[in-house]
């Protein structure tokens, strides 16, 4: 069967959102599919009301509507049911916040690329790229004359930073993903000092990116996405540490979008490795259950 399945993983911010629509659940539930969308909406509203972070509401709405519409259509075709809209909502809103362009078309295109990648780029019935990370990186690769990502934009205010970090930590804690975020932050900070030592730049300059808005979305939403990370807690920590290390290397080479690009490469690689290990494990299990195969040495 070639049909993709939207596997549900109950322990991540987007997991329930990615599952089929199963109706309302209590707010206190870890599985509440609306919590991550609510949180990212809160970030959007706090940012926009206090700083006007959005170039216009219409572009963000375009990104969200496009992502949700694409998800509905493609989900209906491939899943034969209406998918839960929360995942696409998060993708759309991430595109709306992270992508910056004076034009409208990049928002629609990025959302379409993000959602379509989930259905077009699959390995063993799983999509291996974080959708919005994929869409934004592709836009940065292919349309640098038209888009940038949220890097020097957005308010640099301390209060909003604290609010978002506290709320984000609570959400990822409830989603059992706090170790992912903390591992990344510890690695980033440690490597920042190493970078400062290597480059001779002030350590504050190296720490600076993580105090900015792009990282708030990156560490609370992208790297914690359960659909595109490995299963074990240790594996998740190793993967996110690897992302930090690759980002470190990119930064030494003056790559402005180092974290996005690092996730772009490490995320799928980790997924493929996990699939390979799963296959070997499955083969071993099958072999253990089949004495004939042992005898044959297959």
């Amino acid at each position: 069967m070639n049909q993709p399945t939207m596997q549900s993983k109950p322990d991540g911010p987007q997991s329930a959102a990615n599952s089929g629509f199963r109706g309302w659940t209590p707010l206190s539930s870890r599985l509440n599919p609306f919590l991550p969308p609510l949180f990212i909406t809160l970030i959007l509203l706090v940012g926009n009301l206090s700083f006007g972070i959005l170039e216009s509401y219409s572009k963000t709405v375009l990104a969200i509507v496009t992502a949700m519409a694409a998800e509905m259509v493609l989900g209906r075709i491939f899943l034969r049911k209406w998918p839960h809209p929360a995942s696409a909502y998060i993708t759309g809103i991430s595109v709306g916040i992270l992508l910056r362009s004076p034009a409208f078309w990049p928002y629609a295109l990025c959302s379409l690329l993000s959602i379509t990648s989930k259905y077009a780029l699959r390995v063993r019935n799983r999509h291996i790229w974080n959708p919005s990370n994929f869409g934004i990186c592709v836009m940065l690769f292919l349309a640098p004359m038209s888009v940038a990502s949220l890097s020097i934009q957005w308010g640099n205010n301390f209060a909003s930073l604290v609010v978002i970090w506290v709320l984000g930590s609570v959400i990822v804690y409830r989603a059992r993903r706090l170790h992912v975020t903390l591992t990344y932050v510890v690695c980033f900070v440690g490597l920042s000092f190493l970078r400062a030592h290597i480059t001779g730049d002030p350590w504050q300059a190296e720490i600076s990116p993580i105090t900015g808005p792009m990282y708030q979305l990156f560490i609370f939403f992208m790297i914690t996405d359960p659909k595109t990370t490995v299963r074990s807690r240790l594996g998740q920590s190793i993967v996110v540490a690897a992302i930090a290390v690759l980002e470190f290397i990119f930064r030494l080479n003056s790559s402005i979008y180092a974290p996005l690009y690092a996730l772009f490469w490490i995320g799928p690689a980790a997924m493929l490795i996990e699939m390979g290990l799963d296959s070997r494990q499955a083969a071993k299990t099958a072999g253990a259950q089949s004495p004939d195969r042992k005898i044959l040495g297959v």
Binding site: M1, N2, Q3, F51, G52, E55, S56, L74, I77, F78, R100, S101, P102, A103, W105, L109, L112, L113, T116, S117, Y119, A120, L121, V138, M139, L140, L142, A143, P144, M145, S146, V147, A148, L150, S151, I152, Q153, W154, G155, N156, N157, F158, L161, T199, D201, P202, Q204, A205, E206, I207, S208, P209, T211, G212, P213, M214, R251, S254, S255, I256
Partner: protein, 593 residues
């Protein structure tokens, strides 16, 4: 299963189609640029060509950048990146435009190039007493605007500085007298924007000054390094604004708060025009690290209406304000320049076009009209360079041109995205180390095709320098009926582009003089009606970035024009209609008593 397999094929094709969209967009965008061939075809294709003639014209000025407190040495190229400016003035009333340019190193001299009427200029700043204005302890020049504040018929000079602002009285074209103290100006302002306008319609020119760094910062003697903006999009810790009301006795009273102008955004450019038809000039302010502001003038009292009219929502890096009636519809559009660097930061320049209807509302049509991407843009001016009856747009750009192979953008973005406590301290910024930041950029000369599209022809017509452009001013320097272009470059030469217009397109010019209105006629608007078209222009007291065009107003008319009339609306409110106008003439017009 078959249905899904087919769907997968279709979605894969669709996905590949999506991936090709940016490439198609890029290809289409290259089609909107003019031919890159350059040379002799420019006249034939576009109706004009530019030739850089500064040396032949006797102009050999090279701008010197300021050297600030040594605590800023690491990022000196970034913080000392402004100061080159040019303004046009006929200071001696001989009917030929002269050129004033600023210099910005301590001890450096500004220049006043007197027009010799023969294609050459002579620097007379020293003998006129307005050269040695960058002395130690007084700061350095950032720009100059000219206006006849005492209505004696001669344009006076207001010099903005990072330092002590200066007012010089023009002594009938024979010299200048420093009157700063008598005028009551502050001891120190770190400003890059200033303009003359008569905000209350009393017939006397007032003065607006927009601060950049806070006025208590002496950039040569820093108390500490916490003098950078607190945010790169929402900074409110810049210099204050000043509105100096002309009391008519050589003295000015600072009335900004009383008049409703209170802001500490980092202002880089400002210009004034009556945008809502009340007869009072409104004030458009472009701010670095934040949103633009529009101060609507309600009979001498201002209220900030940027958000209400649509121009004050998206924070960018405003560096220019210029007005132009680009659709020949009797209304000014506003061009604000910002930063665009491929793959890093795409703010896009703004072209604020007024909506039809009575309410003041603007839409940004820069992308639609093709004037959005101009690199790290600074000064821009509208003017009809080929006399075809449509206003074109000249834009200069380029921030820091040092090592071509190494860019500072990564370090810039790294720090600029962080928390205010990191950004705001210059000590936290990595050293520039000789790198460029959006350097060596191609200038833009967008030709208005009259059908809603601008095409960049800069490289073709001869505007092909790669200096770090700051300020641009337009004037018919040689009284030929063609607008010439003067460009001031940071740490670069002053460029004079002489304009040759192909035969056939006609023109008309007006030199206005106020009587009841301020004598410079700053704020006077002329609506010219010809061939079923109408175009609005005004006498400006400063526009663009740190620049001022010639006070004479130039209209291109196209071929064989039939001029119906010109209607002048003077700042006093008087309306004067001129009939029986002939093309290819300069009309001196005095306001009826």
């Amino acid at each position: 299963m078959k249905r899904v397999s087919t769907a997968r094929i279709l979605v894969t094709v669709f996905f590949i189609g999506l991936l090709s969209v940016p490439l198609i967009v890029r290809y289409r965008s290259t089609q909107t640029k003019g031919s890159q061939s350059g040379g002799p075809d420019a006249l034939a294709h576009y109706g004009f060509s530019l030739q850089e003639v500064s040396h032949a014209a006797g102009i050999d000025f090279v701008h010197q950048a300021p050297s600030l407190d040594t605590k800023l040495n690491g990022i000196m190229p970034e913080v000392a990146s402004m100061g080159a400016s040019v303004s046009i003035v006929d200071f001696d009333r001989d009917g030929w435009p002269d050129i004033y340019v600023t210099n910005s190193a301590i001890g450096s001299r500004n220049r006043l190039y007197r027009n010799n009427h023969d294609g050459t200029f002579t620097d007379v700043a020293e003998q006129m007493g307005i050269a040695d204005v960058n002395q130690p302890g007084t700061g350095v020049s950032m720009g100059a605007v000219w206006g006849d504040y005492d209505n004696d018929g001669y344009e006076d000079l207001f010099l903005i500085k990072w330092g002590r602002p200066e007012l010089f009285h023009n002594d009938q074209g024979r010299g200048f007298t420093r009157v700063t103290e008598q005028a009551g100006l502050p001891a120190w302002i770190n400003a890059n924007a200033a303009l003359w306008f008569d905000y209350d319609g009393d017939g006397k020119l007032d003065l607006f000054v927009g601060g950049y760094y806070p006025e208590d910062v002496d950039l040569w003697h820093l108390r500490n390094t916490r003098m950078m903006p607190e945010s790169f999009e929402y900074a409110n810790n810049g210099g204050r604004k000043y509105l100096f009301h002309n009391l008519g006795n050589g003295h000015f009273e600072e009335v900004s708060a009383k008049a409703g102008i209170v802001s500490r955004r980092w202002t880089l450019a400002a210009a004034a025009a009556d945008l809502d038809g009340t007869g009072y000039p409104d004030l458009f302010v472009a701010n670095d690290y934040g949103v633009s502001e529009l101060y609507v003038n309600d009979h001498g009292h201002f209220h900030e209406a940027g958000k209400a009219v649509g121009v004050g929502f998206a924070p960018k890096s405003g560096m220019n304000v210029s007005f132009g009636d680009i659709f020949d519809q009797g209304k000014f559009s506003v061009y604000v320049s910002n930063i665009s660097e491929e793959g890093v930061l795409i703010q896009g320049n703004n072209l604020w076009v007024p909506r039809s209807g009575s309410a003041l509302k603007y839409d940004n049509l820069a992308r639609d009209l093709g004037v959005e991407l101009g690199g790290w843009s600074f000064g821009a001016q509208f003017g009809d360079l080929n006399n075809d009856g449509n206003l074109d747009l000249y834009l200069v750009n380029g921030f820091v041109s040092l090592d071509r192979q190494r860019s500072y953008w990564y370090d810039f973005a790294k720090v600029a995205g962080g928390n205010s406590s990191i950004i705001g301290d210059a000590a936290n910024w990595p050293a520039f180390d000789g790198r460029s930041l959006s350097g060596y950029q191609q200038k833009r000369l967008w030709l208005n095709d009259g059908a809603g599209r601008f095409i960049d022809v800069a490289q073709t017509v001869g505007a092909n320098d790669r200096y770090d452009g700051r300020s641009v001013a337009l004037a018919d320097l040689w009284n030929t009926g063609a607008l010439d272009v003067v460009v001031a470059n940071q740490r670069g030469p002053l460029l004079v582009y002489k304009n040759t217009v192909a035969q056939g397109n006609d023109w008309i010019e007006f030199a206005l003089e106020g009587t009841k209105s301020n004598r410079s006629a700053i704020g006077a608007q002329i609506m010219l009606y010809w061939d079923g078209k109408e175009q609005l222009q005004q006498v400006s007291g400063g526009s663009g970035f740190a620049s001022q065009n010639d006070r004479r107003i130039h209209f291109g008319l196209g071929k064989n024009p039939q001029i119906e009339k010109a209607v002048i609306r003077w700042p006093s409110g008087a309306v004067q209609t001129l009939d029986n106008l002939a093309p290819n003439r300069l009309y001196p017009v005095k306001e009826p008593e």
